[in-house]
Symmetry: C2
Subunit: 291 residues, 2 copies
């Protein structure tokens, strides 16, 4: 079994990075706090240019051995999983020997939803002496604050849409699917499952263009919330400037996410994008009565 080089939790931080700008934002925040970062961008998911400025080792999917070898050599014990992940067809994977030994447990995890998959993988890493930490444990400044980001706030009608979307996400939570929904004028327009938030917002834009949505442009809210009981160490909902642009293109009035339970890749850029697109972006408490 692996004995990590350091066991005090203060050595270099390994970041296993999926797609999007969130892994980079976290790497920058942790570096600024004075902790060394070693990136493990996942091939096919992570942005090649963005990882250049950090020490990094490309990680082929299902090659746990590659990670273990380099992480051990770098003295990393703490590991962050972050960024968007695609669920690849199992048959497309080239599986190494270490992964093969882990496979029964990963396969078992694979049969469930995303939470099962991620928790299963995390347990495997922990068995090898690594410690999975939440992105916001190492960089709390990346969490969404309470209240509006940018100059606009949700209207009364928007608040009703937000409340309906939160109730819906609570109802779908046990099914371990998406973390996002779009509600406009008290009507559920979309619920996220395998397609991801980007594709869901693109669908709304397309339905609007085809005249399939009754609510006028400028109504409707994208709401993202963690699943009830979700392991906060990975797969927290995330938004960034691109989410704001996509929500605006979908003709929505704004975006609501759970304050303290959502990662914001670039807060200042999100505020600017929101003001430019004339939509609100708000961090809410789960309990709407406290808004």
């Amino acid at each position: 079994m692996l004995q990590p080089a350091n066991a005090d939790g203060c050595g270099p931080l390994a970041i296993i990075a999926g797609g999007g700008s969130v892994p980079i934002a976290i790497a920058e925040a942790v570096t600024q706090r004075g902790r060394r970062v070693v990136m493990f961008p996942v091939r096919g998911w992570a942005d090649p240019t963005a990882v250049e400025k950090f020490a990094h080792y490309w990680l082929p999917l299902a090659q746990a051995g590659v990670f273990r070898r380099h992480a051990r050599a770098e003295g990393c014990r703490d590991v962050v999983f972050v960024g968007t992940a695609l669920r690849p067809p199992l048959r497309s994977l080239r599986i190494d020997w270490l992964t093969l030994r882990l496979l029964p447990r990963v396969l078992h995890a694979y049969r469930g939803g995303d939470d099962h998959l991620l928790s299963g993988i995390a347990r495997v890493f922990e068995d090898y002496g690594f410690r999975i930490v939440a992105p916001h444990e190492v960089a709390p400044e990346i969490l969404m604050p309470t209240g509006p980001v940018g100059s606009l706030s949700p209207s009364e009608r928007d608040r009703a849409d937000i409340a309906l979307a939160l109730a819906l996400l609570e109802a779908t939570g046990p099914f371990d699917m998406g973390q996002a929904a779009v509600v406009a004028a008290n009507h559920v327009l979309a619920v996220e499952a395998a397609e991801g938030t980007d594709a869901m917002l693109a669908r709304i834009a397309e339905l609007r263009a085809r005249g399939r949505i009754a609510a006028p442009s400028g109504t409707g809210v994208l709401v993202k919330a963690p699943k009830p009981g979700q392991d906060r160490r990975f797969d927290l909902p995330a938004i960034g400037p691109r989410t704001v642009e996509e929500a605006a293109q979908a003709g929505l009035a704004g975006i609501a996410v759970i304050a303290g339970d959502t990662i914001v890749a670039e807060l200042a850029a999100v505020a600017m994008a929101a003001d430019r697109a004339k939509i609100f972006v708000v961090g809410i408490n789960g309990d709407l009565s406290r808004q």
Copy 2:
């Protein structure tokens, strides 16, 4: 107020027809039973060629006066609403005087989900002396039977996927959104909201083509079920040969719908399409333990 020409429920049947093949299947079944049918195809929704063989009056949306005038002249009291409907942007409607008088109630209905909208419109029609009847009241042979249609049946794994999808649809029922979901290998791939079943299946096909779905082709089930407490007089889930083809293109193992609570446009054609595509189509009871 309108006094319909006949009040015994046995005069000609008015069919307000949306898109798809279901309205035509119902018109044919009712005609074969010896009852005269007058079609009111909705402009922009209904297939122009298919209504040709029946007495018909094109109905512009939001022109309730047109329907009332012709239905009265034809002596229709019973009205069936059937076929796929698009929810048009309110501002795109040219509203006639009768509709204008009804508008406050329709607008109130419009703010909710589909059920609210349809129930609201039905109440308006009933206030004018019409009687809204369920499609299967006038043509019970269009309802899905129990058991497999075609030669294939769901496997044990398919049954587990069906059970998960039914539980999900029960949980989303109170939100008055879609009536369909796709589950593959215990993983929720899609839930229908504003996009409709066709677009949802096209999305699965596209995600599969892009390698975004882990479960191999030939796994996964489309499940359609009425919303809990839904008014059975309209908007029952419906499938037809095209649904079968689309489910096959999405790489699913089959389709499960609620027996007796689902309209099947052309049962023989559905069975043929299922066998050709090598997928199952099964009518289940809501209670899976009785399968």
